[in-house]
Assembly symmetry: C2
Homo-oligomer: 113 residues x 2
């Protein structure tokens, strides 16, 4: 519990998963929206292909960090699967934020930035 380590099987691993949790920490979103919102809110710096995001969402749901539910749209618009954080996901996000802060200063120390 007092492990202050990140390099192990932490970041640079499920890093993108953490970013998705970060977005979902704000509000419910669906996959296609996450792709766009990630691109938008990072000004294009992070632009994940759908082939990365959809499997990541499946993993996060499988691991109980997010919960998804289908929403039928009016007319013939394609249905959406909205995701929100579970309680476990909230905890994972909090822990992930701390890992990120630690990793960030560690990497800055090494890279001299």
């Amino acid at each position: 519990m007092s492990e202050q380590q990140v390099g192990g099987p932490q970041l640079s691993r499920g890093e993108f998963g953490l970013l998705i949790l970060g977005l979902l920490g704000r509000r419910e979103m669906y996959g296609y929206e996450i792709v766009a919102e990630l691109r938008r809110s990072t000004e294009g710096a992070i632009d994940l292909p759908e082939g990365t995001v959809y499997p990541a969402l499946r993993r996060l749901e499988r691991d109980g960090l997010i919960g998804g539910h289908w929403v039928e749209m009016a007319g013939n618009a394609p249905r959406r699967r909205y995701y929100r954080l579970t309680q476990q996901g909230e905890k994972a996000l909090a822990a992930g934020r701390e890992d990120w802060l630690r990793f960030k200063s560690a990497a800055d120390a090494v890279l001299g930035s």
Copy 2:
């Protein structure tokens, strides 16, 4: 060349490789030393096992970013393979630093830190 993107096949990919380049940007080092120095200079926040570092060094050398040479030690002490950045490695480090800065602000934007 004007690509301002990191999420692609960039960070969270060869992230640890970049950290190794960062260390080698300071001075020549050998594998076992890198493991220790990484742990030391990040105060334990990043503690890569040898099984991660040695293969990473081989990849970096294979890709021409670092060059290694054996140094025999006095007595029966085990020999060391010292690595230094190549010119290409210097460029990769510079590019990697920029990628890191971009990724950092992007992730901060998403994680709200």
